[in-house]
């Protein structure tokens, strides 16, 4: 019965995802009819259509799916290990750490913006971002460590570290040239601008491996969600497992941040909606969370491209505008 229901939900989710992908392929500064899109994908498009679909829109959408899956799973993990439904990688300093390092890197002037990105830049950017986010996780862990890491203390310390890092970022932003500044602003708010197949080649394998790794150990995650004492009683080495999942979550959000910037609230929305639909078992919940996050991000990105066209606003902002009302609803809703 339950499995049946989950299957239906899964299929609906996939159909919705395909629908949004189609919508996103159609809309833009060069609009296409559905038949044209299908013809182009089947290989019968003209030069303009081929370029639009294969070089501009498809990489962007693919990247959106990858990034959203990573953030959704990352948020789901965090909510499980901190046992707090409001936890999210964007709010507890993980994304901010990545952002800080990228800002430092941009302000040190090693990238050429507005031009074609060289391959070394594409490889270096994620490395820089991952270093930053892991460092910030390390700092949070160190500061929160007091005879083991308690989830609540971890969260609160994360919020504090987030505030500190944000202050440092805004300090650096003030000293930048306008071009650098706008690049950083777009980046700190999250954007899929300039997506290319190279980004996908780099992030796709890593993120897939991480998500699969988490899924194979999702039983442990279920147990961790029950509480430290209970988990310990069931023979789970709590601290060790928590650290493992924390690192996975940080890596996932760092990878996502490295290519798409700091997209807040996505790691909150996906898992929350998924949990409401299929319950708290992570084996089914996490993939669904990834799918829902992807749908949200593609829709948000389509809106970000088209709403103020030809101006593009950072997609992270659209996600927050979508996400915050839901968040406020979560806050205000009585249990």
């Amino acid at each position: 019965m339950n499995i049946q229901k989950n299957k239906v939900i899964g299929i609906v989710c996939i159909i919705l995802l395909l629908g949004t992908v189609m919508l996103s392929l159609m809309l833009g500064s060069y609009s296409m009819a559905p038949e044209e899109v299908i013809q182009t994908i089947l290989g019968n498009g003209n030069k303009l259509q081929n370029f639009t679909i294969f070089q501009v829109r498809l990489p962007r959408i693919t990247l959106a799916i990858i990034v959203a899956s990573a953030l959704g799973v990352s948020g789901g993990i965090l909510q499980a290990i901190t046992r707090n439904p409001l936890a999210e990688p964007g709010m507890i300093g993980i994304n901010a750490g990545a952002a800080l390092f990228v800002v430092l890197w941009i302000s040190s002037g090693t990238t050429a913006y507005y031009s074609a990105l060289s391959l070394s830049t594409i490889i270096l950017m994620p490395v820089v971002a991952i270093t930053g986010s892991l460092l910030s996780v390390l700092v949070i862990c160190l500061l929160a460590y007091k005879k083991g890491i308690r989830p609540v203390r971890f969260l609160l310390t994360g919020v504090g570290v987030n505030a500190g890092i944000t202050a440092i970022i805004s300090f650096y932003q003030l000293n930048m040239s306008k071009g650098d500044y706008n690049q950083v602003l777009t980046w700190t708010n999250g954007s899929l601008w300039g997506s290319s197949w190279n980004y996908i080649l780099l992030t796709f394998p890593l993120i897939t491996i991480l998500i699969l790794l988490v899924l194979t150990r999702s039983k442990t995650l279920d147990v961790l969600g029950l509480g430290d004492e209970l988990a310990f009683g069931l023979g789970v080495p709590v601290q060790k497992e928590m650290l493992f999942f924390l690192v996975c979550s940080a890596l996932l959000s760092a990878l996502a941040t490295s290519v798409a910037g700091n997209i807040a609230f996505l790691g909150l929305l996906g898992p929350q909606i998924a949990k409401r639909m299929v319950g708290p078992v992570h084996r089914t919940m996490l993939p669904l969370a990834a799918g829902i996050s992807a749908i949200i991000l593609i829709l948000a990105d389509t809106a970000a491209r088209n709403l103020f066209s030809p101006l593009e606003i950072p997609v992270g902002i659209v996600v927050s505008i979508l996400g915050v009302p839901y968040f406020i609803y979560l806050m205000l809703k009585g249990k």
Binding site: N84, L86, A87, E88, G90, M91, L143, A144, K146, V152, R153, L155, L156, T157, V159, G160, V161, N162, A163, G164, A167, S170, F171, Q173, L174, K178, Y181, N182, L185, N189, A264, F265, L268, F308, L311, I313, P314, G316, I317, S320, I321, V324, F327, I328, M331, L332, G334, K335
Partner: protein
Amino acid sequence: MKIRIRILTAVGVLLLFIGMIASIHIGAKNIPFNEVYHAIVQPDDSINAQLVRDIRLPRMLCAVLTGGMLALTGTMMQGVMRNPIAEPSVLGVTQGASLAVAISAVSPIIRSVYSNFFMALIGAFISGILILLFTMQRASNQSISRILLAGTAMSTFFLSLASVVALLGNRSQELAFWIAGGLRQAGWIQVFFLLIIGGFFSIAALLLSGKINLISLGDEAATGLGISPEKIKLYTILYLIPICGVCVATAGNIGFIGLFIPHIIRKLIGNDYRKLMPLSFLYGSIILVFADIAARIISAPYELPVGLFTACIGVPVFLLLVRKEKK
């Protein structure tokens, strides 16, 4: 305790006085003390006198007033929420005001100093009401982690909306100055607004301090003593919203003053809000006056954001408080 309070007050007044004088004296052009004295007592038309009258003096007064008021709002919030980490900038109230100011700065119709104040008040009001609703919804929402996450989410939201506004209006870097906080725009109009609106509500809040004392003991104790905790909470939040609004309209988003000042003062004199609130005001003023001086001289001729200095002190205190928290 009494002696401690007296010493603290005396030292505070002295420090504030030194800070005020120094703030007028130090700057891109150092003005000798005797000329400062002259410019205030018998103003003439010399450049130094004009500098003092039109730039240094209002700026110093703005620093004194916003610093004090921000510290005061933090103290009030901590009292009624019984939560050592509650503070307008942590809970998103000042960010709400910042968003409103960004909107007013970009839109061509409502762009003036007065509209800045008006918009900041509306912004602070909306975000303040949201936080109020959230904490009153149910008791568990007063737990530190829930309030904090809610506040962080709200500030993220308001700031990202402000970025959209600024990007669309092509004034993004100006917005960064707003968010970082600073007293560049301080003039006599700002002093006037701070005094009228901020002053009125600050005094109203100070009159409430006895009741905040009772609330900080716990809702049951307060009810037992015949006052309605919900009502006092409502009044306190309603008073601190306009104070936050004028502060943000004057100085942008200066964070953490309301967090660490009351915390330190509380360590020294205990939990009596009748003394805690005025002393927090005093020391908030001192910190902001000196932070503003530092912001002006450290990398002169450029100005650093004042919010950076307050964050430098605030974040460690915040982390310390979190570490000590048992649950």
